[in-house]
């Protein structure tokens, strides 16, 4: 390794350390400012809470185990609706790819359903399915599914026609094209749509919990607002942030595993 390259690597390391440091610093300043502002009554801690009150609130909810039940429900509902979104969108996009007429018939329907604000459907789901976990999961699915089908189908459709011809000249059929060309070429899009869908599922689940749940972080937020326990509300929002990041991080890990295979 040349001296210049060593220097380059060192400067690169320094740069990353600097970025990490400033990220932490920004976060710390934000927390300190918030805490100070609350303590000195610049802001009303009853409405705006404060880091220490949030920690206290999390601890007291955590002690009874109540908080973990809520987190568990939200997590389980999100993961389940994410699972169904992925499963259904791969199945639907594949069917549309296999049948050109079916794709042409359903295209306008999909476009309309995708542009519809899905939260408008949630009240209907309550009437149809009651106020249980089923409703929440369906709400989560409804937010992500249509966009997911459209983006997957678009990708499926973009396979190089020469590649399809190659499979045909080697004696393969449409199923061989699907299995050996369409799916492998769509893996990056599939992973991207997973990243989008995990976030959207969480959005749908929280909307569902707002309207129709007795458990879950969405319920905690609504309940907390109604009884003016704003520490509880803000704690829940922060936990949601952590969950969203964690889920996204999980998929990113998965992406790295897949990339290593290739």
């Amino acid at each position: 390794m040349s001296e210049q390259h060593k220097e380059y690597l060192i400067s690169l390391k320094k740069y990353h350390r600097k970025i990490k440091f400033f990220r932490f610093l920004v976060f710390a300043i934000f927390l300190i400012l918030w805490e100070t502002a609350a303590n000195l009554n610049w802001i009303d801690a009853f409405f705006f809470s404060s880091p220490s009150r949030i920690v206290g609130s999390v601890f007291s909810m955590g002690k009874t185990g109540e908080l973990f039940t809520h987190i568990g429900y939200t997590l389980a509902e999100t993961v389940l609706s994410f699972f169904f979104v992925m499963l259904l969108s791969v199945v639907c996009a594949s069917l549309l790819w296999f049948s050109k007429s079916m794709a042409a018939i359903f295209e306008p329907t999909l476009v309309i359903l995708n542009s519809l604000p899905k939260s408008a459907l949630a009240p209907l789901f309550i009437v149809w399915l009651g106020t249980g976990m089923k409703t929440i999961i369906v709400a989560g699915i409804s937010v992500a599914i249509f966009g997911s089908i459209i983006s997957l189908y678009t990708q499926f459709h973009q396979t190089n026609p020469e590649m399809e011809k190659l499979i045909l000249t080697l004696g393969g059929n449409k199923w061989d094209i699907y299995r050996r060309i369409v799916i492998p070429f769509s893996i990056p899009t599939l992973i991207n749509s997973m990243k989008v869908n995990i976030g959207l599922s969480l959005v749908g689940v929280v909307i569902g919990e707002f309207l129709a749940a007795r458990r879950g972080l969405g319920y905690l937020i609504i309940y907390g607002t109604q009884v003016f326990k704003l520490d509880m509300v803000i704690s829940s929002i922060i936990i949601l942030c952590i969950i969203a990041y964690g889920l996204y991080f999980g998929i990113q890990k998965l992406e790295k595993c897949v990339n290593m295979d290739v």
């Binding site: 000249t169 080697l170 061989d176 060309i181 290739v262």
Partner: protein, 253 residues
């Protein structure tokens, strides 16, 4: 000798919502077993359509195609079309895998082909790690894997740079002669056609018609296309065919 493959008055048009594109009009020619035939003509004149029809991907709209005995076709494309997520080994065994005939016998054959054509040590590499020429050779092995008796070559060298192109054409030409295959090559490169073929069929612009059929008799064919290019007869054939492809009245028009 009875022709191996013969086309009689074959015509074909592409149908689009905005109109009909006549690609082939009254195409007739024959190919004997073991012969290397080239179809030359201007770009976009429907040459590739002839290969598609022979491979059964399109059906001729008029005319007849007679094939004497059992002919299996292998197709080679302009791009190597190696699957980037598969190793060279998986790529070349794609045909047998599709036919579910990947047994120890075919595996042995593939190993032999890899060895013969200098790709043995690359079999676990991915296509991205190979040069353009090696990739095209891998694509040829993929085509040979199903042991077709006739190769349909759809401008397989035109995506390569000029240097590589001459070398790969030489390479692949030799391989095809060694394996005793019949070959039909589509190209717009006249010198490439002369250097490789036993017979050249000159086609006109769209819709394609047969303008001229000419046998190429250059004695050093077995030594490969680079040797043919150096032979004095090469230039003569080039002159004659060049005139056929570019008649003087058309050039001034």
């Amino acid at each position: 000798m009875e022709p191996y493959i013969s086309l009689q008055g074959v015509s074909f048009s592409y149908h689009r919502p905005d109109g009909e594109i006549e690609a082939l009009s009254d195409i007739s020619f024959t190919v004997s077993k073991g012969e290397f035939v080239s179809l030359v003509g201007p770009s976009g004149c429907g040459k590739s359509t002839i290969l598609s029809i022979l491979a059964g991907l399109n059906a001729a709209e008029a005319g007849t195609i007679t094939i004497n005995g059992d002919v299996s076709f292998g197709y080679m494309f302009q791009q190597d079309l190696l699957l980037p997520y598969n190793t060279i080994w998986k790529n070349i065994s794609l045909g047998p895998a599709i036919h579910k005939s990947l047994n120890s016998e075919t595996k042995k054959r593939l190993e032999e082909l890899l060895y013969k054509y200098g790709l043995s040590q690359f079999k676990d590499k991915f296509p991205g790690q190979l040069s353009g020429g090696m990739r095209q050779r891998a694509a040829l092995i993929r085509t040979l894997a199903l042991n077709p008796d006739t190769l349909l070559l759809d401008e397989p060298f035109s995506a390569l740079d000029y240097q590589t192109r001459l070398l790969v054409a030489d390479d692949i030409g030799k391989i095809i002669r060694q394996e005793n295959k019949t070959a039909i090559l589509v190209t717009h490169d006249l010198s490439e056609a002369i250097s490789l073929s036993d017979k050249i069929i000159v086609l006109s612009g769209r819709p394609s018609r047969v303008v001229k059929i000419m046998d190429i008799n250059i004695p050093c064919k077995e030594k490969g296309s680079l040797a043919v290019r150096k032979h004095p007869a090469f230039g003569e054939y080039f002159q004659i065919l060049w005139k056929e492809m570019n008649p003087p009245d058309e050039r001034t028009a």
